[in-house]
């Protein structure tokens, strides 16, 4: 009835006119609707990117600050995202990212840990890497659901030594019974050469100390199927690096980066000693400096990440500690 009335009121031209207006409003409304939706989505995307950037900034600041102080344990709560660390062995380029954000480079930080982390709380520990003079502070990352199992079947003296040196907040066990940890995918088993290791179908790290547990030696990354990769380690800081790392490649990459930093710091020490030697009056001190430069500092230059080079570094670093004591007793300036 109403339509009939309208038809009577508008006539044929009026009906076309009203229909056309409605179509026009529909199309324009749809365009405006799309526009508003696109603005809302772009804002949502921006907010997500901003949140990722803010999280990355927080994590980067925290990781950087950990590198300033040695021997500190701390915990960091992060948003429930996936973190991925990547170390390129060829370029020595180290970076990390969270979720789908851009990678952030950490050019000077040496961080050992799993390459993929998916946890709300991460545990961070740091140790000084010192070779007669300070080189860097290594950072170790793990999570609460990870466990370090020190395999001890025959009263190995190193097992207790290693166990005691790890912070109590990190989940660690000293045992010969692995049956209760079978289902744990985040376990790291450590054993010592000559003191028994788990069966070949288990992943583990076999430590073979050559100059004391926290001096230098070899670490074998054993993977199921008898895949063994042997890498050297230097000092306690390097040994922990191997224990906390997921793979031999990642550990090797971080250690190579650490040796690059070693070379830089060594050249600074060499320059300082050379300048002091020149400025000192001819004396026992200047003679000592010359001997230290020629017998320790220069032979340590450009080390490679292999057992012989690491053994030489350890010997020279050990000599430098003794030389520093001798210099102090002779009232000479110290090396560092």
């Amino acid at each position: 009835m109403k339509n009939a009335t309208n038809r009577r009121t508008f006539g044929r031209g009026g009906i076309v006119d009203v229909q056309f207006n409605w179509i026009f409003i529909l199309i324009a409304g749809f365009v405006i609707f799309l526009f508003i939706i696109s603005v809302v989505f772009s804002q949502k995307r921006n907010a997500e990117v901003k949140e990722d950037i803010s999280t990355i900034n927080q994590i980067t600041t925290l990781l950087k600050s950990k590198q300033q102080i040695a021997n500190v344990y701390s915990e960091m709560t992060i948003p429930n995202t996936n973190m991925n660390f990547k170390c390129d062995a060829d370029t020595r380029y180290f970076s990390y990212k969270i979720s789908n954000s851009e990678r952030v480079t950490l050019p000077n930080e040496i961080i050992f840990g799993p390459q993929d982390i998916s946890a709300r709380k991460i545990q961070i520990w740091s140790q000084a890497f010192d070779t007669g003079f300070p080189v860097s502070v290594f950072t170790y990352i793990t999570t609460q659901n990870s466990v370090i199992i020190i395999y001890n079947t025959s009263g190995c003296p190193y097992a207790k030594q290693l166990y005691d040196s790890l912070p109590d907040n990190i989940t660690k066990k000293i045992t010969s019974d692995l049956s209760m940890y079978g289902s744990n995918k985040n376990k790291k088993i450590v054993c010592f050469n000559g003191y028994g290791c788990p069966p070949a179908n288990v992943d583990y790290i076999n430590i073979a100390p050559a100059g004391g547990l926290f001096g230098y030696g070899n670490v074998t990354f054993h993977r199921k199927g008898n895949i063994n990769t042997v890498k050297p380690y230097l000092m306690g800081a390097g040994l922990y690096g191997a224990i906390f790392s997921d793979t031999a490649e990642y550990y090797g990459c971080q250690m190579s980066r650490a040796l690059d930093q070693f070379e830089l710091k060594r050249s600074l020490v060499a320059k300082r000693l050379e300048m002091m030697r020149k400025d000192l009056e001819p004396s026992d001190c200047s003679l000592d400096f010359e001997v230290i430069l020629n017998e320790e500092i220069i032979p340590m230059s450009n080390p490679s990440f292999n057992f012989d080079s690491i053994a030489l570094l350890y010997d020279k670093a050990d000599d430098l500690y003794d030389r520093n004591v001798d210099l102090t007793l002779s009232s000479c300036p110290k090396i560092y």
Binding site: G13, V16, N21, F24, Q68, N108, K265, R272, K334
Partner: protein
């Protein structure tokens, strides 16, 4: 379409165009406001970065005295200063690249003030001097282990940043 219909269509078009123009103006205005916010955050973060650098320098093992203690005035080793200045002098060197990560766009000068005067630049990003700078002086002791003398001095951290 009749004359009335054309007028109605014209009105609808005008309303839609006005709404779109208002939306666009609103977005442009909002963008400008948010950009000015970003610029202010950027400038604040650059200032914070200079302050962070100023705090880092006296604590670096590459510069500080080997007997320095937490409760004492910060102390720098004169020969470590000279060694670092020498190493970072070349902006293409590995040492410059390494310290650039910590010192960023700044110039760091160590000044001996008393009893003798002398300046050594330990790091200079060598950016355009016309850019705005934030200058932070930090009082330090400078220890010369060769002459066994201690100088009173300053670390001057100047941060270059766009402003």
């Amino acid at each position: 379409m009749g004359h009335n219909g054309q007028i109605q269509l014209g009105e609808s078009t005008a309303v839609v165009i006005i709404i779109v123009i208002m939306l666009v103006l609103g977005i442009v205005f909002w963008n400008k406001v948010s950009n000015s916010g970003i610029m202010s955050i950027q400038s604040q973060s650059q200032e914070l970065s200079v302050i962070e650098t100023a705090n880092t320098v006296p604590e670096m093992p590459e510069l500080k005295c080997y007997e320095s203690k937490v409760d004492q005035v910060k102390c720098l080793d004169w020969y470590k200063i000279l060694a670092m200045s020498n190493a970072t002098n070349d902006t293409n060197s590995k040492a410059f690249e390494y310290y650039n990560y910590y010192f960023k766009n700044s110039k760091i000068t160590v000044m001996k003030i008393y009893p003798e005067e002398g300046n050594v630049t330990i790091y200079d990003a060598k950016l355009n001097n016309n850019k705005r700078t934030l200058r932070i002086p930090i009082p330090v002791n400078i220890r010369d282990y060769v002459t066994d003398r201690t100088y009173y001095g300053l670390i001057l951290v100047e941060g270059y940043y766009n402003g």
